[in-house]
């Protein structure tokens, strides 16, 4: 496959913004370019001009592109040690009023939401929790709402759950289908799944804990800063933010609002509103 030029990448971004209102202009360059190339290859498209015409004219095609160009890969209890620190340190120290409010920002197909629900259930806190789970992609939110997953993904999920030290077996929480597993819908009865764009939309509320893992890596410095500002606004004092194990907010201006709670697991506590 020929390399796609910078000019063509910009044209794709502009077209998507004008016709679908999704702004990819502040996504990290290399991974975004790679995803466009992958989309063109998968669909055997060689003519970039024709491709741009097509996303202009066919909204359905443009939406498929938007869905495919973002990375939705996720797993349950990814980095088990992160979930251990949440369970043993972070959540016990949250003093919540009526309910424990959690925001899963960019939750993809919901594996982390189910992980959280299982963690809370085993801690006897699930009925006290109010979870908001958001993503820009309606398709992944549908999967998350259903809780229906491929059976082949369960091996890694179970392994992670075991490493996390869950109280039972992961299979206690799902029923087996043909090639799928259906997670217990009770787990997400306190979850609101909402379409929300971190690049353009304002804060969806106030929370005691925000989980946003492996999302900032797809954004450039400017968008990371903007999203972090949204998180500062969405957190009450002494509430927490967890990001991906290899992500960093240290160079962001808004990082000043936080102190580090776990360096290894990238968990922060908001200590002030001063930016």
């Amino acid at each position: 496959m020929e390399d796609i030029s910078l000019k063509d990448i910009k044209r794709v971004i502009d077209t998507i913004y004008l016709t679908r209102g999704v702004d990819f202009s502040n996504y990290a360059f290399s991974s975004f370019k790679r995803r466009i190339k992958r989309f063109l290859e998968m669909n055997k498209i060689r003519d970039v001009n024709g491709f741009i015409e097509k996303i202009k004219d066919e909204s359905e095609f443009a939406d498929i592109f938007i869905k495919e160009v973002t990375v939705n890969v996720t797993e349950m209890f990814r980095d088990p040690s992160f979930w251990v620190v949440l369970r043993d340190k972070v959540i016990p120290s949250i003093k919540f009023d009526h309910s424990l409010k959690i925001w899963h920002a960019a939750c993809s197909t919901g594996e982390e939401v189910y992980s959280m629900a299982i963690l809370l259930k085993e801690a006897g806190l699930l009925n006290n929790a109010e979870i908001t789970a958001t993503d820009i992609n309606k398709h992944v939110l549908k999967v998350a709402t259903k809780g229906l997953y491929q059976i082949r993904n369960q091996e890694i999920n179970s392994k992670n759950y075991e490493a996390f030290g869950g109280k039972g077996n992961l299979s206690d929480y799902y029923t087996l289908g043909d090639n799928t597993v259906q997670f217990d819908k009770q787990l997400v009865s306190n979850v609101d799944f909402l379409c929300h764009d971190l690049a353009l939309d304002s804060s969806p509320g106030k929370f005691d804990l925000i989980i946003c893992r492996n999302v900032l890596i797809y954004f450039n410095f400017d968008l990371q800063e903007k999203v972090l500002q949204t998180f500062v606004q969405s957190l009450s004092k002494d509430s927490y933010l967890g990001i991906g194990s290899k992500e960093s907010i240290n160079w962001c201006r808004s990082a000043r609002a936080f102190e580090e709670v776990s360096f290894e697991e990238k968990i922060y506590r908001k200590t002030s509103d001063n930016l």
Binding site: S31, R34, V71, N214, K246
Partner: protein, 193 residues
């Protein structure tokens, strides 16, 4: 060869560990270039690898965080379970997208993005490995002007990865592990400022 190499990118898989240890052992304190190692490794083991590479290395080996600047004098190791990309601003970026050619990290992706960012200022080296990852990426860097080296298959513990690259294009040099070490060291003398 352009004497102004600004980055060395090395891809390795099965059988490359000893070569990498050799390289690190030979590099002097104050080595003036960044070296990026994209190595296949166990997905679920986050700790231990970078520590083992640091033993007997005079330069510091790090697993970069997302968006970290690429600094001369450091060696960088691809973190477990992420793809490691190089941005045109000459910092790293990570990605969790699916395996590419059965691999995460994908050596292809690291070579390809580093070649795009650094062009003729990159030297890319492919080492021993039992699969085909890396060949396409190194070729793409080659087309962007990078200086390319393939470990001699007869000198590699696993030939498949070097062979795959040699099938695709003719690199600037095919070298044994010891020659690779000397090559890297020779870059240092050209670059002291």
């Amino acid at each position: 060869m352009d004497k102004e190499i600004k980055i060395i990118v090395i891809g390795g898989s099965a059988g490359s560990y000893n070569v990498i240890k050799k390289i690190l052992l030979a590099l002097p304190v104050g080595f003036p270039l960044p070296i990026v190692f994209c190595l296949h490794r166990l997905k679920e083991v986050r700790n231990g690898f970078v520590e083992s590479l640091n033993i007997n290395s005079k330069i510091i080996v790090r697993e970069p965080d997302d968006k970290d600047l690429i600094k001369p004098g450091f060696a960088y190791l691809s973190p477990a379970n992420y793809h490691l990309l190089v941005e045109p601003g000459r910092n790293f970026a990570l990605s969790t997208e699916d395996n590419i050619n059965y691999s995460r990290p994908s050596i292809d992706l690291t070579f390809d993005t580093a070649g795009y960012a650094f062009r003729q200022k990159m030297a890319g080296i492919i080492l021993s490995g039992a699969n085909s990852d890396g060949a396409k990426g190194l070729y793409s860097a080659f087309k962007n002007g990078a200086y390319t080296i393939v470990q001699d298959p007869d000198n590699a513990s696993f030939k498949a990865m070097p062979m795959e690259a040699l099938k695709l294009f003719k690199p600037h040099q095919t070298l044994s592990d010891d020659e690779i070490v000397s090559f890297i060291n020779s870059l240092s003398s050209n670059n002291y400022v």
